[in-house]
Every structure is written in C-alpha cells, then in structure tokens.
C-alpha cells in the first residue's frame, strides 16, 4: 500500500482564448477565461490511480488556488482519489513558483509519511515546469521529471523512462521521491460512476456561499463531503515566504505584443497571383 500525494492545478484554458481575454491595457482578463484541470496533472492522477489499481494506494490530491479550485478536487474525487485538500488563503495569492513550492511543501509535510509525490510536468498557464523540482528540494527528496512511463515499482524503488533531449533514459531511484509526468504517459480515465455519485456534493466550506447553508445542515443522505481547506496557519507558513511577498520574481511589465507590419504584400489568391509568387521564389533560388 502506497501513500501518494498528487499535485494538481486549476488553470485558465489558455488554448481557447477569446476576444474578451485581454483587457484594453494589455493585461489578462482572468475572469473571462474558462478554467480547466491542468492537462498533465490529469496524467499524474492517472499514474497514481494505476498504482492504486495494481498495488493498492491511498491517494490524496492537493491543490493550491482560489476557493473555486475545488472544482479540480471534485473532479479528482470523481476519478478515484481518496481524499483532497484545498490550500487556499489570500496570503498565498500572486505566488511565483518559489512561493508556491514553499506552501505546497509545508502542506505535504503536514500530510506526512508519503511514498510518492506525483504532479504533471508543467502547467499550461506558465509552462515553467519549476514547481515540481522546487517542491522536491524543499522536502529534501529526490526527483524524476519528464516521465513517460513507470516501468517498475516496488516498496522501496522505482524504475521509470524519462524523456531526454535526444531520446529517453531509464532511471532507477529509491523512494520516497517526487515524479513529474508528461502527457505521453497515459490516457486519463473518465469519471467513475460510483465515485461521482458518492462525491457529487463535495464542497469546500470557503466556497459554500454559493450554496444554501441549510443544505449543509440537512440530515438527508445527500449530506456533502466536506473538502479540507488549509490556510497559511494550518500549515505553519511564514507569511513573508508566501504569495507575493515570498516571490523573488516580479513582473516589471506586461505587453500585448504589437506586431510590426514590415514589407507586407498581399498576394492575390488567383492563378496569376500565385504564379507571380512562385516565380519570384524560384528566381531568387529560394525554391526550385
């Protein structure tokens, strides 16, 4: 039986940016963007569930985010997570990767006694791939990143294939360890019907204002599963190391890129227009 902590993140769906996504001043209008379960974090959860299927495991899914990040935790429960924790506090907001890893590592220490920490390689809103290694360092444990396949797992040891710049390598390492999983590793499973029925009313108390309080107190069978919420005091975090004040990196400037029109020429989409273009490229020996 393994104890696995899975790290997940709710991210804006940066691939489906609409016209409203950018404000006039060039900053991002986050509220206009739909949010999704970070894709590679679903792959991470799937690896944990595969381990649970094969060897037995207790899976605890941890996320840091605003109250509505409970969404990704509910989706984790629907897929088979045993417990979920929402790390949410205004003090955590505007954290860069370092401040994020600080809070996550304290929460993981509080969970304690883990064999594996598993996360996606990177999140699509920042693409940094930094939080995994930074968290491992804070926990003073080893890491294996960019994993395409878990080849073998025993109580004390793991063998994985990880992507390299020229192919892949097979690496053996001891537990406990932090793993980051790529999108190539697996296809995440759909929701389990049983889990979905069990957890359909799962709710975090900090998002409860969206609901009727009476509903929480009701005695019927639909009594909701309460999602654990930890704030900075719950994990004994030093406020100065959290959120914006704990972030070494600062955004100096954000620009909506103004693309410069250079020597632009529109080619008429006709036989003649295309012929002229091809002739020019040929006469300049660019093609042909």
């Amino acid at each position: 039986m393994f104890k696995i902590v899975v790290l997940v993140k709710q991210v804006p769906d940066t691939k489906n940016i609409t016209g409203d996504a950018m404000k006039a001043d060039g900053t991002v209008n986050r509220s206009a963007l739909p949010t999704i379960f970070n894709p590679e974090d679903l792959n991470a959860l799937e690896e944990a569930l595969k381990i649970k299927d094969e060897f037995g495991a207790e899976i605890i899914v941890l996320t840091m985010g605003p109250p509505n990040a409970s969404n990704v935790l509910r989706k984790s429960l629907f897929r088979g997570a045993d417990d979920v924790i929402l790390l949410s506090d205004i003090k955590f907001s505007a954290a860069d990767t370092l401040a994020t890893s600080y809070a996550l590592s304290l929460a993981i220490k509080k969970i304690g006694n883990f064999d594996l920490i598993i996360g996606g390689t990177q999140a699509i809103d920042g693409d940094t791939a930094q939080v995994g290694p930074q968290t491992a360092e804070k926990l003073k444990i080893n890491q294996l990143t960019f994993i395409d396949k878990i080849v073998k797992l025993t109580k004390n040891e793991i063998i994985v294939n990880r992507t390299t710049d020229f192919g892949y390598e097979t690496v053996k390492a001891k537990l406990p360890i932090l793993l980051t999983i790529t999108g190539e590793a697996n296809t995440p499973r759909p929701y389990s019907v049983k889990q979905t029925l069990t957890y359909k009313n799962a709710i975090s108390l900090i998002e409860k204002h969206d609901y009727d309080d009476g509903y929480l107190e009701s005695d019927n069978d639909d009594k909701p599963f309460i999602i654990t919420n930890w704030n900075h005091e719950d994990i004994n975090a030093d406020v100065e190391s959290c959120g914006l004040s704990g972030s070494p990196t600062q955004v100096k400037k954000i620009e909506n890129v103004v693309l410069e029109a250079g020597n632009y020429k529109e080619i008429e989409n006709s036989e003649d227009g295309l012929k002229m273009l091809i002739s020019e490229l040929m006469s300049e020996h660019i093609i042909g």
Binding site: A129, K252, E266
Partner: protein, 340 residues
Amino acid sequence: MKNEVLVYIELQNNKIANVSLELLGKAQDLAEKLSVKCGAIILGEKTDQHHKTIFEYGADVIYSADNLSLKNYTPMPYTKTVCDIIEEYKPEIVLYGATVNGRDLAPRIASKLKTGLTADCTELQIGDYEKKRKGEVKKYENILYQIRPAFGGNIIATIVSPNHRPQMATVRSGVMKINKNSKTKSGKVINIKTDIPQELLLSEIIESIKKEKSVDLNSSSIVIAGGMGLGTKENFKLIHKLAETFGGVVGASRAAVDAGLINSDHQVGQTGTTVQPKLYIAVGISGQIQHIAGMSNSNRIIAINTDKDAPIFKIAHYGIVGDANKVIPKLIEIFQKLKK
C-alpha cells in the same frame, strides 16, 4: 572577483550542448554591460577536455567540477555542487539551457538558494527598475530583464528579481546567437573540489537510448508549418506534400500538436524549436506570440490563412487570404509547371 555572469554548461553524451554555447554568447554581452567577467560552470568526469571549447566561445573563467559521481546528470549531486559554487563565488547572473535536464536542475537550485528563476526567456537585457511601494520609490540599477511570452503565449512579460541573487533564467536552444571568438582565447580555470556524500546518490541511470527525432527542423532552409486552421490530419497531409515539393521540412504550431495533428518533434515556437529558415510558410496558423517567438527571424515568411485579420499576417512578408485546401494544391501545380 566581482559578481560574474555565469553559464551552466550542459554535457549531452559528453558533448557540450549547443544551447550552452549560445548562452556563452549572450553572457558575454551581459557581462560587458555590467563590466564583469563571463564565466562557465561545468560538472562531469574529465571536464578539462571541454575547457578549450568553453574559452573559445567566450568564457573568461571556468568553474570546473571533475568527479566520477558527476559523470551522468542526476539532480541531487548536481544541485549540491552548483549551489556550492554559487554560494562561494556569488555570481550576479546564472543562465541555464532550457533542456530537459536544465529544467530539472535550475528550479532545484533556485529553491535551495531561495532566488528567482524565469523559464524559457526569449530575450535577456540589462536595465534599471523602479519599484513603488507604500509611496516610496526604490531604484535598482543594472538588473536582468528576463523577457518571455507568458500566458499561453498571448502576452510578453518582462520579469525581474531585484532583491535576490543570483538572478537566474533558462533559455531554449536556438534562441540566442553563438559568438565564437576568432582568435583562440584562454582564461582562468578554478577547479572545484567536490565531496558528494553517499546519501545524495539516489538515482542510477540504467540505460540511455538515443532516438532519432522524426524531424530536424533546422536541417532545411525551408519550413512549411501547419496549424489548427487545417482542422484534420487528412488536411495536414497537404503540408507534407508542399514540404516534399519544395524540399522543406514540416513544422507545426503548438495547437496543431496538442490537437494530435502531428507529433511534438515538429513544434515551432517558444516551447518547441526555434527556426530561422530562408523560407517559412505558415498555413492555418493564427500567429500566437508563442509561435511567432520561434519563427519571426525567418528570411521570408508567407502566411496562408482564411482569416484576413489573423496576427500572422502582421509579421509575414507575403500573405494569401484563402483556404489552404485550395491554395496549396494550386501552388504545387504552378511550381511543377514552372519547373519544367
């Protein structure tokens, strides 16, 4: 020794990674602006065989850690060794290639040293920074501007780490230009004594497999790239056909890769490969910043898109507003006729 600009030199199969040499070029520029020396950190076994090359590409000083335990990259011993060097010699800036292992190592170092790190920068500059806080203005001179597309490539952000040292960034391969010295340079080598405790030797590489990428995007002077506008794998075949006709290689936007139209070896952009071919044809690619960052330096850019307002037309030299399914077969037909 005054606060140098250092480059972490990555070895791949005992050869210096190209991105490390490119970064030496950039580090020289930054060091010159700061009036400090440009240095390199190299870890491995028999590292002295690489010193000559590192000097040729611009380092004034090399911190060289030669140890059997460092023969292959594993995160724990490498983190300890690089952190020991940084703590002792206190560089102002440290740059890493955004390779798989560079992205494994750099964040661990940043975490241990509690300093900032910006991933996948597309430009690095030195400049001043003013920070207003509680009515006071604090001025910082000569700090590192770490510039990168962010938020899925929809914006460009300039990131700074004014209060923490070293300032650290990773950069993808192909982004910076190599600057090899015409006359062979030499410099100072500082041999780093390393003591790797047994308890850090936690990973063992069983085997390393070289896999040919399905494409080398820098192998041709012509890149034909397809995007989501093509819609289906079937339509994407047109891109292959045009590449074959013109003697080019096939590129793709991230959206096309994510949608499964083609594998990620073909991805051009900030998180893919950076290319500078003589001819770049972007088909059905809208032109997100993250894509443009990887191809805007191409000599000649032709964009084909049904949407006349697509941003790609802003950086293209030639634009064809139309349906690729009709335009591409026509281009092929005309080319073959003219070639005869």
